[in-house]
């Protein structure tokens, strides 16, 4: 009885969670220009129209560049921080780690304006690079969360065994630690890529005149006739995210299984 009540509630909740995403393909394949019910007919013309918009192409190119660069940089920083926090005790540890993890809860607009003020103050011109600076800042806490669990499940005697058998610290990292945390690294790359690709505020403030995908999408919302194309674009993005996240989840679980740990939950 009780369980059924919970289950019913859970399903209602999932419907609430998925409501917007279910609507997305409906309007993407609807042939009307107005985003409203009732649907008028099936069409793929909004998908075709995407090909004719050069700004969109530029935005996609920019966003991919930003996302790939941010993912790599934040994962590298994440490896340093996760390794330091899981393996060593050092002075001011709580303070330093707290600062690095702060963007996890700090409103993005605060990150955006504070960076804007400093960059303009230093005379740094706004560009894709300045967006990357901001994105690395907000992606790093997520990479640390993922990588920490990867490093945590690593038995320290594995490293010691490798030193003991004649390896140097560097070759031990390459031969033992890196292969064992590789699933975590891949999952961290994918997650930070996804976050950066979807990030709007920082790009909005720091991209200067360059469009990124979310900035482009936001600008298109002002033109009702442009919205169906955005729905089509959104459908593709949703599919892409689901694929990337599934891969990330697969690697995360494989990493845990490989090092003999117990699965305790999702991405956070």
């Amino acid at each position: 009885m009780k369980v059924n009540g919970f289950k019913l509630y859970a399903f209602c909740y999932l419907i609430f969670l998925y409501a917007p995403i279910i609507l997305l393909p409906m309007f993407a394949f609807n042939d009307a220009t107005v985003i409203a019910f009732p649907l008028t007919g099936f069409s793929t013309r909004w998908f075709e129209e995407m090909a004719t918009q050069p700004t969109l192409h530029l935005a996609v190119k920019n966003s991919l560049f930003i996302a790939v660069t941010s993912a790599v940089l934040s994962t590298i920083l994440g490896i340093f921080a996760a390794r330091a926090s899981t393996r060593y005790r050092f002075p001011f540890k709580a303070g330093i780690m707290g600062l690095i993890m702060l963007p996890l809860v700090l409103p993005e607009i605060i990150v955006a304006v504070s960076l804007l003020v400093v960059l303009l103050g230093l005379g740094v011109p706004l560009s894709l690079m300045t967006v990357i600076l901001g994105h690395v800042l907000i992606c790093t806490p997520f990479t640390i969360a993922i990588l920490s669990s990867a490093f945590q499940s690593l038995d320290q005697s594995l490293e010691e065994a490798a030193y003991d058998l004649g390896e140097t610290p560097a070759s031990t990292f390459r031969l033992i630690i890196l292969p064992l945390v590789m699933p975590g690294i891949i999952s961290s790359l994918l997650i930070s890529f996804t976050i950066s690709l979807d990030e709007f505020i920082i790009a909005f403030f720091l991209a200067g005149t360059q469009p990124t995908l979310p900035v482009y999408i936001f600008s298109q919302f002002r033109f009702p006739q442009a919205v169906p194309v955005i729905m089509a674009l959104g459908t593709i993005l949703v599919c892409l995210s689901i694929v990337l996240l599934s891969i990330a989840e697969y690697f995360r679980r494989r990493g845990i299984a490989r090092s003999g740990g117990k699965d305790t939950g999702g991405f956070l």
Binding site: Y9, F90, I96, I201, T264
Partner: protein
């Protein structure tokens, strides 16, 4: 030899090697996060000139931010929206976290978590926009209700106001609220619950006296992780809020990008953050207070009274903070008043507990 002594030295000073390792991300965060945040704080005390910022120390920005009717109402609204979103999100999320942790087979838990987190990772902008579609004049809700015949004309109070902002944000932050609670529930040793029932408590009382207190750290984490970012959300109020749904972030954006008034924007940003810190502090004090009260009455107070007191306490706190926020010019006096009230109660309860 050199490699040997280097390694030996590294091994000997664990703190040194840890600092060395954490230096790249640490320096990055100091240079690109701590320093900019400090700059904002500094800017908030400077004066806006026409084309440049005048380096005169002033409190004018703050006095403007706290007395200007427009700014004040936006801040109060942001706080109210954020608290409402937090309350709704956490209350709705708890049963889900409980369901997944306690009623889902272990092998299927990951799948459920995956299902819950997927919507969170899909384009935020488009999700928010679709809520506009759902709640709009010709939207899903209205056409649905019209179709069934429950209403005669479309509802207008669900879009372009605070309601739509709350609904959309509650949707956006749902996974954020579920995960910390879920993690806390997962950590609970199941035999504790059996022990609770074995010692004669009903399932419900076991939940109240064992599960809920042990899940509290997760609840607190989810409150924080929802409350802090929502108060600074820009996209949702911009897209579905309408003129009466604007929040702090919109104001900050306006100051920075439209009016080019960096000191004013900084002062508003800092005020917003202060509001967050203040609210959290009051919430914390209230929780301590409630905890002390609960321990004091433990055993002698029926659970209905305890729960009622919890709600009263939370409501009083939210009310108190809202009151302060709406009377911002007199904020200092208000803060001191509420603070001293809290301290007095704490001291009293502590003594009461000691005597009991």
């Amino acid at each position: 030899m050199s490699e040997g002594s280097f390694w030996a030295r590294i091994r000997r000073t664990e703190g040194g090697s840890g600092l060395l390792l954490v230096a790249p991300p640490g320096l990055y965060a100091i240079l690109l996060l701590a320093a900019p945040l400090g700059t904002i704080l500094l800017y908030s005390f400077l004066t806006d000139g026409y084309l440049e910022i005048i380096r005169d120390f002033t409190l004018m920005n703050y006095s403007e931010a706290w007395t200007n009717e427009l700014y004040r109402s936006v801040m109060v609204r942001s706080l109210a929206v954020s608290m409402a979103v937090t309350a709704i999100t956490v209350l709705l999320a708890f049963p889900i976290a409980y369901f997944v942790s306690f009623h889902v087979e272990p092998s299927k838990k990951s799948l459920w978590l995956f299902l819950i987190t997927i919507p969170f990772w899909t384009s935020y902008l488009i999700r928010v926009f679709l809520w506009k579609v759902i709640l709009g004049y010709n939207g899903v809700v209205n056409s649905g209700l019209l179709g069934i015949g429950i209403i005669d004309e479309p509802l207008t109070f669900i879009l372009y106001n605070v309601n739509s902002v709350v609904i959309t944000l509650a949707h956006a932050y749902a996974p954020f609220a579920i995960l910390p609670i879920f993690v806390a529930l997962e950590k609970i040793d199941r035999s504790l619950l059996e022990a609770g029932q074995d010692l004669g408590e009903s399932r419900f009382m076991t939940f109240l006296r064992v599960t809920l207190p042990l899940a509290m750290p997760g609840v607190v984490a989810s409150i924080l992780i929802v409350f802090i970012p929502t108060i600074g959300d820009y996209v949702t109020p911009q897209l579905v809020g309408g003129p009466e749904g604007r929040m702090i972030a919109n104001l900050i954006q306006l100051q920075y990008l439209r009016l080019d008034n960096y000191p004013m924007g900084s002062a508003i940003a800092v005020s917003g953050m202060m509001l967050v810190v203040l609210t959290i502090f009051f919430g914390w004090a209230q929780a301590r207070l409630f905890g002390a009260a609960f321990r004091w009455f433990n055993g002698t107070m029926p659970w209905v009274a305890a729960v009622a007191m919890a709600f009263l306490s939370i409501a009083a706190n939210f009310g108190g903070v809202l009151l302060i926020a709406s009377l911002l010019p007199g904020a200092v006096a208000g803060v001191l008043l509420i603070l001293s009230w809290h301290i007095a109660l704490l001291v009293m309860l502590k003594r009461g507990g000691g005597m009991a």
